[in-house]
């Protein structure tokens, strides 16, 4: 009963919030609704018994990724509304919906066969975090290490890309900066 209420509440709210993300003209509204939708998606994970995945979703997505987006927002002009000219909106909606439906049917069709067996079955008595840890550090150890190296590469790439010309301001009026520098020189 409670599971049903939670499921329908979360699904209606996530779909609405992500629609706002996709349709909004304001970057700040889009980002805020994306963050709220991600919090609610972690609610789905908690209903499904994937506690560790829910916590990781909260920490990594809502904590790290959204913080990164909001820091990057300082480089862009976020207060102005985005002007986008959309060509054939009905065509885009039709094509998007159709191709998503075809993709989902394609990938979901094998699920309804009865031949699927669990490779790594869950142990409800052990708890989700212990289960995840055992499988992650035995069967998925190499992908885990590769993911660690990939995150390191991404971190260095992010620092190098964003760190170029950090001393030049691009959001402020440049003449103001020049005047400040002249005043400093005069002193």
């Amino acid at each position: 009963m409670y599971e049903q209420i939670a499921f329908y509440l979360f699904s209606v709210l996530t779909v609405t919030l992500f629609l706002i993300t996709v349709m909004s003209k304001n970057v700040l509204y889009a980002m805020t609704s994306l963050a709220a939708g991600m919090v609610l998606i972690s609610g789905f994970f908690f209903i499904l018994g994937a506690d560790f995945l829910g916590v990781v979703q909260l920490i990594v997505y809502v904590g790290a990724v959204m913080a990164l987006y909001s820091f990057a927002m300082m480089f862009f002009d976020a207060t102005r509304n985005i002007k986008e000219k959309s060509t054939h909106p009905a065509l885009v909606f039709g094509l998007g919906g159709m191709s998503a439906l075809v993709l989902v049917m394609m990938f979901a069709a094998p699920l309804y066969s009865e031949k699927i067996q669990a490779f790594y079955p869950m142990h409800p008595e052990a708890g989700n975090a212990q289960d995840v840890g055992i499988v992650l550090f035995t069967k998925y150890l190499i992908p885990f290490e590769v993911a660690a190296v990939m995150l390191l590469v991404a971190m260095i790439a992010g620092i190098i890309l964003a760190g170029k010309k950090m001393d030049v301001s691009f959001t402020q009026d440049l003449s103001v900066d020049d005047e400040i520098m002249k005043q400093k020189d005069a002193k």
């Binding site: 992500f18 990057a72 998007g96 989902v104 699920l111 790594y120 991404a154 170029k164």
Partner: protein
Amino acid sequence: MIGLSHYLIVSALIFSIGLVGVLRRRNLLMLFFATEVMLNAVNIAFAAISHYYNDLTGQMFAFFVIAIAASEVAVGLGILIVLYKKQGSLDLDELTTMKG
């Protein structure tokens, strides 16, 4: 009772929202948001399948999807900042520099 198909339908809905966003957005930052929406939809499907087939593999894949999304955001935002410094805009229609 909530079954696997309920979760798959919600996941498909959210995925198609993200796909429509990717198709209709012209701002690069908004395109990034739409890809995040699609990745999250796939994660819901993974977690639901993992729960209903009593198998941990789905959750493992969801973890790796999250790791890849994090690194994608780090590199992508770096590129966006460089692009904004160079062009002064994130609009895809204004970035057509390869016209022959």
